[in-house]
């Protein structure tokens, strides 16, 4: 089972690397979905099957579909891809990259010193998660529902403004042309 963990971890890292380096946004989106699926496998191997199911349903299912819809609405061309290519010039990020690699080496050294603790055995089932969610974390659930309501109202408001502005501009152009 451990080879599953390491293989899915390698896939997650490789696909995430592709997400931040590829210039086509739709390709990056597909890589990101694969990365989320790999992380879901990691959750499953770690003994969290409920988290794995939520990862696939909400992240790879709902949120990524939002991204796909927006990408299809925008319909970016080759000019944007060429502009993104210019931002990935190696001369810009070599110095900070070397410093960040040094920090990563420090982190790996710290873990090699004292982080070698084997962990427990049993998987945490959905029942335990539900009991914890509606027991001590009930206030958090209410706050999450408020946050989702605020997100809904905010997205609806922004979309409403967009329609108003667009029609307003079209009316102005119509008056200018006429």
């Amino acid at each position: 089972m451990e080879i599953t963990f390491y293989l899915s971890a390698a896939i997650a890292i490789a696909t995430t690397l592709m997400v931040i380096t590829v210039s086509n946004a739709t390709h990056a989106l597909l890589y990101l979905i694969v990365s989320l699926l790999a992380v879901a496998i990691v959750f499953f191997v770690l003994g969290a099957p409920f988290a794995a199911a939520l990862e696939i349903i909400i992240y790879a299912g709902a949120i990524m579909v939002l991204f796909v819809f927006v990408m299809m609405m925008l319909n970016l061309g080759k000019a944007a891809a060429a502009r993104e290519q210019g931002w990935l010039n190696p001369g810009i990020w070599t110095g900070p990259g070397v410093l960040a690699a040094l920090l990563l080496a420090e982190l790996a050294y710290i873990f090699a010193q004292g982080g070698d603790t084997p962990w427990g055995t049993a998987a945490v089932t959905a029942k335990e998660v539900g009991i914890a969610l509606f027991g001590p974390y009930l206030l958090g659930v209410e706050l999450a529902s408020l946050l989702l309501l605020a997100g809904l109202v905010g997205a609806c408001h922004l979309g409403w403004n967009q329609v108003g502005i667009e029609t307003g501009h079209e009316e102005e152009r119509g008056h200018e042309n006429g």
Partner: protein
């Protein structure tokens, strides 16, 4: 299918290192890219890495709290991405570009 020895064979810091790598990749994406779609995707990667760290810690101590925190992170990510994508669409309709530097001036 999943035996106790198999889970015990994976040390905790391997999961945490994976979460750290994913978080760092997301942060590199935010710093390197100027397309707003890629910036939003990098934010998703970072939130996902934080949730992975919570789940790893929850699996280490066999508590459900890690997965509860992952559910909260999912709610935050859903709210964030809905508002972010609505802003992105508004921006694209107004400026005809997705470059984050194009909107760096206020009242320009």
């Amino acid at each position: 299918m999943r035996t106790a020895e198999a889970i015990a064979a994976i040390p905790m810091h391997h999961g945490l290192v994976l979460a750290a790598i994913l978080f760092a990749l997301g942060m590199i994406g935010i710093l390197a890219r100027r397309n707003l779609v890629f910036i939003l995707m990098s934010i998703e990667i970072m939130l996902n890495a934080a949730g992975l760290a919570f789940v790893v810690a929850g699996a280490r101590w066999e508590q459900a709290d890690g997965q509860v925190m992952l559910i909260f992170i999912l709610a935050v990510a859903a709210a964030e991405v809905s508002v972010g994508l609505a802003l992105l669409l508004l921006l694209y309709r107004r400026f005809q570009t997705l470059d984050a530097d194009a909107v760096s001036k206020m009242r320009g």
